[in-house]
Symmetry: C2
Subunit: 519 residues, 2 copies
């Protein structure tokens, strides 16, 4: 591989977690707390509120945050980084896992694979995490762009632009979502009048393993990756924590998540069908296509934060609709989604969920992280669990303090919630009582893409994932202008809705190879 | 000219004024005010302090800031911008001003040239302003770089990298400064241990007009451009406003400014001689060189903010040292520097100063902007002016409200103080009672390089002047790394101190052309 020149590096506006100082941590903390304070000017109120809550939360959640100086660094790892490691591949070896794929996919609830963490499972976790990360990296956050809220690239180019072709998957469909509930700070909106869509955001995609990867992993793997919220604070603040029944007995789920998953409106361009309908139609199509070929097929649904919540709703629906399909969810920093009946139903249907959780992250304790912890015990006694949020599946617990590369002190909620922090910690995780994996290869610099979690000694700037001059370029007259998006990457509802057309298009593009999606 | 590709665009970390929300406005406001408030947690105290002061200051200074909606826009200008103007040159025509250069240079104190503003003078003001802007655009603000505080480019490449060769000057020397007074937030420092310099910052440069430009402007023009502070708030907060005598009768100047201008230390790499000594040695050398050739020579000293203060100190010294040299200062948003005796002395020595001031900018009202306004009247009666700060020279007063492209409401102190805002307003200034110049050509997008002053309708992002991924590049192994600075741009005290060597070097480089510096 050659050095990638700056012009070929994918560029995106990841809204830096640290670019809105105060707000994220603050709102996150306020999310489920109400504390009575003296009337003060708005700014002050918020600040004192936050300061007090940060302190009490730290105790309440037993985060044991070190506020003193950096711990002694593990110099073995540092040396690795500073010397050989900068000239080594960034991925661990690809083993053939075809004989063990069902266990890796969770058939036995990942028992005996999590602690110590099996290297094959670790590699798969990072792979799916990278699929979830792609939904941020390619998202157009530029509110001065008429394409704000869309994906910067068309689905054929997505993985190529992000350097993810190495994973051996290909995107078959984009998913769009809207919400009937006005949840501020969920929908990214353009400042402009004429935009690609006024109601919808790009919310993720469906991808399928190619032949080579399918051979390695022992089956044709369909992946659904759901986008979350990079700065989830305001979002979660606005979740009222209302559970609503979904029609299956006592099963109830959070209405805000469900609304995003199921909303549609005939007058929109991208949500004439809901995210749920879009994704299920595509999954059914692909399952049917490969089963007809006599292939073994699996469904793996991934997402970070809000995306992890949507992944679980998606898994529930898929399990209802496709009863014999092996379905797993690999989520990162996801909040609770439903009540105990929801959990039990998923369990009965055989959905396997692996929740990757950073101990210091607050989002997985939401909604209702204060009240709920107590209530759950109460309800286990009284048996009235139906209204209480409950987590689903197995948990892989990571600890920020396990990595010698991360800052210790402080209370960096956006940083510990960041998916890149999760992937770094997963890559280095050997087991609960082990130190950071010395042969972890994932590029550590990625952690600071949208936060400032890396120790200063590493010299990686905070929130570095940014466009050259925010996308402005100098034209031939010396004027700085915002170039139009290349036509091939402009979203088009007609093109994207037409799966058949795209099927033909892809066969055209990759003719001479078979079957569908084997690149 | 061809479209400049992203790889050839100069990249710099301009520390965005708006990237430190609150702090700038805040500290600026606090600079000369002390208000007794109830003891509160530090953060709260600062916030309430700021809020109250912002209100009272707005009244006190008669800023008449509109906090309501945007005024009606002048659609003539908008159309210009949105249509033809994006495909027009960014500079006004270069007229031959050789017969009028003394008036343009201020020999008659710019009488009858300022209101309405003579187009030849306007063009020169913008030219010198761009020289001052270069000291920001090329400055290395990256605290993770071992070259933090230096210029990103060597002096031979500076104008080329910034697209300023069009002005027809060439840099002959870089100036470095330090301070014996510990003024926080003045000196930019690297986080690293091994750095190019621990004590000094790049503070500006000396440049000379080439033959072609010299013919156009009627003389060989020596320019000194002084770097200021992009975020002057913390800096000015720490100016104690102490006037100190400089040995000439009653003449007194602000000690903080003077300290930066005169500090030196034998143990440093770049300030074995002071900024004053460096610049005067080079100016004397150039004056002597061109006078020997029988050429007419002028000295024009420019700077923004702190740089404008240093420009005045520099002019004072140059006038003492070179009595017959025509000396002008063109300053932008500069604070007061000395007392009335300092002003009178400059006047007597024939130094001409044109102070470009934006009405809404607070910095030109410093130091002592609250007390001083009253005291001055008092002292004019009592005759004890020697301790009171006084402005020097003629004032060109600009008004943010004159431009239809700028935001109206709010109290954006960093934005109104920004040099690019000054240059935009100067480019559009016709006269006190005129609307914005309809044929102003300077690229409006430049205003938002380091602030968010432009109206949203223009779709230019705030603080867009930033490096692709903050300078990180992906190496051949897929790892994100910070590349080393190219050797030719690494500062070297021996190379830079040796003027003779560089003289030879330049003759070598441009051999076949004569005389020195004519490129």
């Amino acid at each position: 591989m050659n050095t990638i020149s700056s012009s070929t590096i994918p560029h995106h506006h990841l809204p830096a977690a640290c670019s809105r100082p105060g707000i994220n941590q603050l709102s996150l903390i306020r999310a489920r707390q109400q504390v009575v304070v003296e009337p003060q000017p708005p700014h002050e109120k918020v600040t004192s509120h936050a300061a007090r809550l940060a302190n009490s939360l730290s105790n309440l959640l037993h985060l044991h945050l070190e506020t003193s100086l950096q711990k002694n660094l593990q110099y073995t790892n540092w040396n690795l980084l500073n010397q050989g490691n900068r000239t080594s591949p960034t991925t661990s070896p690809k083993e053939d896992i075809s004989t063990k794929w069902r266990e890796i996919h969770g058939s036995c609830d990942w028992e005996n694979l999590m602690d110590p963490l099996h290297p094959w499972l670790r590699r798969e976790i990072v792979k799916y995490g990278e699929f979830a990360q792609a939904t941020y990296d390619a998202f157009d956050f530029d509110s001065f762009s008429e394409y704000c809220g869309s994906c910067r690239y068309n689905r054929h180019k997505l993985f190529d632009k992000l350097g993810l072709t190495k994973n051996g998957y290909m995107v078959s469909k984009y998913i769009y979502a809207m919400s009937h509930i006005d949840v501020p700070s969920w929908l990214e909106r353009s400042h402009l009048v004429d935009t690609w869509s006024k109601d919808s955001n790009w919310m993720g995609y469906v991808a399928v393993s190619n032949d080579e990867e399918s051979r390695r992993i022992g089956r044709r793997d369909i992946v659904v990756a759901w986008r979350g919220t990079v700065a989830p604070s305001e979002w979660f603040e606005n979740i009222q924590g209302k559970l609503e029944p979904i029609g299956d007995g006592d099963v109830k789920v959070e209405q805000g998540f469900r609304n995003i998953y199921t909303s549609k409106n005939e007058s929109t361009r991208y949500n004439k069908s809901s995210a749920s309908e879009q994704v299920m139609k595509e999954v059914r199509r692909l399952v049917s296509l490969y089963k007809q070929n006599g292939e073994e097929v699996s469904l793996t649904i991934t997402g970070h934060s809000l995306g992890g919540a949507l992944a679980l709703l998606n898994a529930y629906e898929a399990a209802k609709s496709l009863p014999n399909l092996p379905i797993s969810v690999i989520s990162f920093g996801a909040p609770r989604v439903g009540n105990a009946a929801f959990r039990d139903e998923l369990h009965q249907m055989g959905v396997k969920a692996l929740r990757v959780v950073v101990k210091q992250d607050i989002v997985p304790k939401m909604p209702g992280f204060v009240l709920n912890e107590g209530l759950q015990k109460f309800n286990e006694i009284t048996g009235t669990q139906e209204w209480v949020y409950t987590h689903v599946g197995a948990e892989l617990k990571l600890d920020v303090r396990a990595s010698p590369f991360l800052k210790r002190g402080g209370f960096n909620l956006p940083g510990v919630h960041s998916l890149e922090t999760y992937l770094h910690l997963a890559d280095g995780f050997l087991g609960t009582d082990s130190t950071f994996r010395s042969d972890a290869r994932r590029d550590i610099a990625l952690v600071n893409k949208g936060c400032g979690m890396l120790a200063n000694e590493l010299r990686i700037p905070e929130c570095w994932y940014q466009l050259d001059n925010k996308g402005l370029v100098r034209n031939a007259y010396g004027r700085w202008v915002k170039p139009s998006r290349e036509p091939e990457h402009i979203p088009s509802p007609s093109r994207e809705a037409s799966v058949h057309a795209s099927f033909v298009e892809m066969h055209g593009q990759y003719k001479g190879r078979q079957p569908f999606l084997s690149v």
